[in-house]
């Protein structure tokens, strides 16, 4: 049962003390995380810290050992059968780092297959919706192409449209730009930005720090299976209080990636203190 105070704000997603191990490898060691409906929440942290595992737990692809996960009214940790987890996954979209489009199907078929087979939509409706979504991600001209004929950025935009075709309540993005050429990262981020602006609930695992700072309502920093620090993007990126967060951001942002603060003064004290603290 979720504790009373989580019901108050009615978060759409709520994780409490989630634990998970792969054999003797303890990957999640007590994760607490809340996502309100309509929010964009980013999870940042070093690789291997359990970010993908968190997303997989939320959509029931991995079973948790301890703790609770609630998505809407569904207690994910208590789901017993695959049929129940399938009901959950109809409501939760997932976009992967490697796109994972179905290579034997055309772009349009990739979008149509799940609504047809899983939701039982008619061919006409599913195709109409699919073409709308392709226009939304600016891929309508490639409806009949096969995934192998597309660039990484194009494939990823199709993968986002494929997730949207199920009309999900929320979408989980797992490092969706990490495998892309630098020049195609922007087109994918633009699509995600538009989704968040339309009020789609999004959870993003990302290494694009500037993007996360721009679009997120809340940012979580994970390390070693724990949430080290969370708060507004301003808090995490400009005034992180935890030393580990500071060290990570110093490496992740570098000097070039560092975002100038609002005042435009590069010598602002808060900016400098971040470096002095982590030396």
């Amino acid at each position: 049962m979720p504790s009373p105070e989580t019901r108050v704000g009615q978060p759409l997603i709520s994780l409490r003390d989630v634990h998970l191990s792969f054999g003797s490898n303890r990957v999640l060691k007590g994760i607490d995380l809340d996502v309100q409906r309509g929010q964009a929440v980013s999870i940042i942290g070093p690789s291997g810290s359990g970010k993908s595992t968190i997303l997989r737990c939320i959509t029931g692809l991995l079973p948790t050992e301890r703790g609770s996960i609630r998505v809407g009214d569904t207690d994910v940790h208590a789901l017993k059968s695959e049929a129940q987890r399938i009901e959950l996954r109809k409501r939760v979209g997932f976009v992967f780092q490697q796109y994972n489009l179905f290579p034997h199907l055309s772009v349009l078929e990739n979008l149509v297959i799940a609504p047809r087979k899983v939701l039982g939509e008619t061919a006409t409706n599913a195709e109409k919706h699919a073409r709308e979504l392709l226009a939304k991600v600016r891929m309508e001209h490639k409806a009949d192409a096969y995934p192998g004929q597309l660039s990484g950025g194009q494939q990823q935009r199709v993968a986002i449209a494929r997730a949207l075709a199920m009309r999900p309540e929320l979408i989980l993005f797992d490092e969706v730009t990490s495998a892309l050429d630098p020049e195609t990262v922007g087109e994918v981020l633009t699509v995600i930005r538009e989704l968040t602006e339309e009020g789609m609930t999004c959870v993003l695992v990302t290494h694009e720090m500037r993007f996360a700072e721009d679009i997120s309502d809340v940012v979580y920093f994970t390390e070693n299976g724990l949430i080290v620090e969370h708060g507004s993007p301003e808090h995490i990126f400009q005034r992180p209080t935890n030393e580990r967060t500071q060290t990570f951001l110093r490496h992740a942002l570098g000097d070039a990636g560092r975002r100038p603060v609002a005042s435009g003064d590069p010598f602002l004290l808060s900016n400098i203190s971040r470096y002095s603290l982590s030396v």
Partner: protein
């Protein structure tokens, strides 16, 4: 000569293989203009309808064996990838036994262990030897098809399963709509390769008295009883098998190259 005007030929093949074409043309020219005077070739021409009929028997056996073997192999392969060990075990045993037994032993087995006739109701159904040989070849074919099938399924990256699961597909739906269609494409080259090998394996049929190409060649050789003819007729046998299997193997290589990029 044909190679002087390669432009008129629609395919690229003749241009890339002029040597083979010249050789083929030379052999044909010699057969047409030089050979008829020789009594050895006259005998070959006399025997050629029988040889063709014999080779027809080989091809019939090979086609039936791959057909039966494929259906059986897909069933066994489906059992082999099931999540239940109780169905996996017999499939595994089937594959190991029939993949590792010499084909000739399996042919002897089906020929001499299977009943010659089957009693159904009041009627007797008799199995000619060539059917038994077909079954003997279908057994190792099925084991190999099962292995090819299992390998193809294993070669589909697990991320395809995960993507389909995240879209709320059931296991059965993933299998039908996502995994199987990708498998058949990957199975085609090794499956055709297997067919070529089985066709060569039909040469064993003569050992249990089936009137196939080898058996006909043997009879012809004994009847004509001339060394030159014996050499020639076995060359013809070789050429027939080669002419049948080589295009298959080339086409397989072509498919493998094409799929390597997709």
């Amino acid at each position: 000569m044909a190679i002087d005007s390669p432009v008129s030929l629609p395919l690229g093949w003749p241009r890339r293989h002029p040597g083979k074409l010249v050789l083929l043309a030379a052999v044909l020219l010699w057969l047409v203009f030089g050979a008829p005077k020789s009594p050895v070739f006259a005998a070959l021409r006399e025997w050629s309808p029988a040889l063709a009929a014999g080779f027809g028997q080989n091809i019939l056996i090979s086609l039936l064996a791959i057909a039966i073997g494929s259906v059986l192999g897909l069933l066994v392969g489906a059992l082999a990838v099931s999540p239940l060990w109780i169905t996996r075990l017999p499939a595994k045993i089937w594959v190991q036994v029939f993949r590792n037994a010499p084909w000739l032993v399996l042919i002897y087995f089906t020929t001499y262990v299977f009943p010659f006739e089957l009693h159904i109701g009041k009627s007797w159904i008799s199995f000619p030897d060539w059917v038994k040989v077909t079954l003997g070849l279908a057994l190792p074919a099925s084991a190999n098809v099962a292995e090819i099938f299992r390998g193809a399924i294993g070669s589909i990256p697990s991320t395809q399963w995960e993507a389909a699961r995240s879209l709320a597909f059931t296991r059965a739906q993933i299998f039908r709509s996502i995994i199987l269609p990708q498998c058949f494409k990957r199975m085609l080259p090794p499956w055709m390769n297997l067919y070529a090998v089985i066709t060569m394996g039909t040469a064993l049929a003569s050992l249990v008295g089936v009137h196939d190409l080898i058996d006909t060649a043997q009879i012809a050789s004994n009847t004509v009883n001339r060394t030159g003819f014996t050499v020639l007729i076995y060359f013809s046998v070789l050429a027939l098998f080669f002419a049948y299997c080589y295009p298959i193997s080339r086409f397989t290589q072509f498919l493998e190259r094409r799929y390597a990029f997709s």
